[in-house]
Symmetry: none
Subunit: 142 residues, 2 copies
């Protein structure tokens, strides 16, 4: 029994070692990858915009330029400004939006600071007339 336990412990140790090695491998891969997820949980803030004038390239350019100004807000840890991608049209894919703003924050407070920030408020004042609809989704990493 003792021997069996020792064998079990050895197995456990080996498993822990293998798990650690895998984790280290993953960390090494992660550090080569531009990612925050190895450090802390991320608050994902994703806003989708539908233009009032869907065919106006000028309005889209204005909106995208407005979104670019948000990059300077210091609590934003990562930002992606995009337009509808030309992925396959499937029933679950909503490709009707015109612009998207994806941001990572490292806390609820960081997101609140962004909401109240003068640069964000100026963006809404300057560009709010361009959109017909906005939907925002806030998700917290599990």
């Amino acid at each position: 029994m003792q021997t069996h336990q020792n064998a079990e412990m050895k197995k456990q140790t080996r498993r822990t070692f293998v798990a650690s090695a895998v984790t280290l491998g993953a960390s090494a891969a992660a550090s080569a990858m531009p990612s925050m997820e190895k450090e802390k949980k991320v608050l994902v803030h994703h806003a989708f915009f539908w233009l009032k004038n869907p065919d106006s390239k000028e309005d889209l350019a204005k909106l995208l330029a407005g979104l670019e100004t948000l990059r300077k807000i210091e609590t934003i840890k990562q930002i992606h400004i995009g337009v509808t991608a030309s992925t396959e049209k499937r029933p679950v894919v909503d490709s009707s939006f015109h612009a998207s703003e994806l941001m990572f924050f490292d806390s609820l407070d960081g997101q609140k600071t962004y909401q109240d920030h003068p640069i964000h408020q100026k963006f809404i004042a300057d560009c709010g007339h361009l959109w017909d609809k906005v939907i925002v989704y806030d998700a917290m990493d599990v």
Copy 2:
């Protein structure tokens, strides 16, 4: 008329210069941030899930466990699996979803490989009965 046109052109040139200066400022800020965007454009794939049994913690746990299996798909460059965040309730915020899956790909092909991947197909087969609705948004960085 000609003079007016020249004045317009000068204004346009100035606008272009100002726009470029703004872009340069944004790039400098981006390089200090942990992000892929300075290297290459990202295809952002974001899926939101609404459970058939919204109050079932067990079903949510099953769905989240299913989403975790997707991490192994090699064309995913970054992944965040989350639940509704407790940010401020504002009219534009849709906090009715139950789980969210955010992925970055570096190409349309990478996203297609993910769609067709056996691990993804197994996830749909195993977990598809758990959700009532899915909305997917695909955005390409500008």
